[in-house]
């Protein structure tokens, strides 16, 4: 791994566009996936660029993540990636991608991951409000970073999942390039590049960014505190039978949380099959037993099952909460449960390609207390 610096002449976005452009022009990648304004311009979405000229509209640092790029990379590589592809990704997306690779839903062959330090992202509605109020979300973020501050624009806040994310920095073992936004000093942008790639790009080894390390340490401290606070809030308000029912009481079973989840990859989710489409009379039976029956039934079954099926691989991107039309904080439940369930296996989702996901493997001598009789 080699430390290099990119000179920022106009702004980091332009510098990054030029850098990405050089990857395309030098044939290091033949296509590159970068966030860019969506058609119509009201959002930012991963966009696949083949033409280097078009990169002038890329927004690699726009603090918005309406979908996970991991899902898009899965689309582009699942059945074989025919061309050399680059992807500019935040760490939650990289971690989700690592999980998808384990589940054979994506391939890393021919893929160059360009990871960026993630200061945080906004909810789409906040992002739109900022744009409408004349605040440039990206520029304000970069201005703060240049002062060594990782903070949202005044009067706004990042998505809750981002404020409690303790993995904002890409792992250089997985990302071929890491763009050290946290070390941006207003004039230069530090990057980490794998040696063979650095050679192709003609980058010289420089000194690492001390500033970046300092900023990251400060950020992680704040994030850990926030994480503890939020998880404590869930424990207090969302657990126990009543707490849980209250937490999910606005659920309309639209399945948005499942649809947007980068880890929920099943082609045919059990909840979209007729497994629980009962005969009409059954609903009346249940209503008879209890006196009443809330419709549609089984929303708690849906959430509890989803927790059991994928919480071991939940990377905490928070898209489930962002996609919820009823503003249910689904992500906090998954993070709270995930933390403990993942700890059972000493597992951190997306940490390493070498570790199989807990649901993919087993050990003969584990959980020995389970299964044994008391006598």
């Amino acid at each position: 791994m080699l430390h290099a610096w990119l000179n920022v002449e106009r702004n980091p976005t332009q510098t990054m566009r030029d850098f990405l452009r050089s990857l395309l022009e030098k044939g290091i990648v033949e296509a590159i996936l970068v966030p860019a304004p969506s058609a119509g311009g009201a959002s930012i979405t991963p966009t696949l660029f083949l033409n280097p000229e078009e990169l002038s509209r890329a927004e690699p640092f726009a603090p918005l993540m309406p979908v996970s790029e991991a899902t898009m990379v899965s689309m582009l590589t699942r059945t074989g990636n025919p061309i050399k592809l680059g992807a500019v990704m935040r760490n939650c997306q990289i971690r989700a991608l690592v999980e998808l690779v384990k589940f054979k839903q994506a391939q890393l062959d021919n893929l160059i991951i360009i990871g960026i330090d993630c200061p945080g992202t906004y909810e789409l509605k906040d992002y739109s409000a900022m744009v409408q109020n004349g605040v440039d979300p990206t520029a304000s973020l970069l201005e703060n970073l240049a002062r060594g501050e990782v903070s949202p624009a005044p009067g706004y806040s990042f998505r809750e999942a981002c404020t409690m994310c303790i993995y904002p920095i890409p792992d250089p073992a997985i990302a071929a390039v890491t763009v050290g936004l946290m070390g941006f000093d207003g004039e230069r942008l530090p990057i980490l590049v794998k040696e063979e790639l650095a050679e192709k790009l003609g980058l010289a080894d420089g000194s690492p960014s001390n500033r970046r390390e300092e900023v990251i340490n400060g950020l992680l401290k704040a994030r850990k505190e926030e994480r503890e606070k939020q998880i404590g809030r869930f424990t207090k308000e969302g657990t126990g039978l009543e707490g849980l029912l209250r937490w999910f009481s606005k659920c309309i079973r639209c399945y948005n949380c499942m649809g947007i989840c980068p880890i929920c990859y099943c082609r045919e989710c059990v909840f979209r099959t007729p497994v629980f489409e009962h005969e009409s009379a059954r609903y009346f039976d249940w209503a008879q037993k209890k006196g009443v029956l809330q419709m549609p039934p089984e929303h708690l079954l849906f959430h509890l099952t989803r927790i059991n099926h994928m919480v071991t691989s939940c990377v905490g991107c928070g898209l489930c909460s962002s996609a919820c039309p009823s503003d249910i904080d689904v992500a906090l439940v998954f993070q709270s449960v995930g933390e403990e369930v993942q700890a059972l296996f000493g597992y951190v989702p997306g940490r390493s390609l070498e570790e199989p996901a807990p649901v993919q493997t087993f050990q003969e001598r584990e959980f020995l207390e389970l299964g044994e009789t008391l006598r």
Binding site: G238, T239, G240, L241, G243, L244, L245, S249, V270, F276, W286, K289, K290, G291, V292, L293, Q294, P297, E298, H299, L300, L301, L304, T305, I307, N308, H309, V311, T312, V333, S336, V337, E340, V341, L344, P358, V359, F362, Q363, E364, E366, F367, L370, G371, E372, T373, L374, R375
Partner: protein, 140 residues
Amino acid sequence: MNDFEPKIIAFVCNWCTYAGADLAGTSRIQYPPNVRIVRLMCSGGIDPIYVLKALLQGADGVLIGGCHPGDCHYQSGNFKARRRVAILKKSLERLGLDPDRVWLRWISASEGQLFADTVTEFVKFLKEKGPNPFKTLQAL
């Protein structure tokens, strides 16, 4: 609470616990009639959704019966079941729900007595614990 008769849903492996239950019957071993058996081809076939469904529908306990470690008819199904049960119990616990209503037990085809004892013990345990609070909830 004396007249409370718990209802147990048992998901049992075709090759071991189901045969064990059968043996308990053919051996005329007495045990409480509180258990409703669902036969699976392997304990590894248990999806937590069915355990959760049973609990949310008001089953007082769920018993999952599989082959002893190393004895799985399909080599490793019971180990997979054990992981799933570990995840299920931990997540129930973290959510403040009762993980103790789910029991995983290894009961072989020759252990009719053990099957009867397990059901007896589970019924006693559940009688002390009381009915599943989900039983009366309108929202499942």
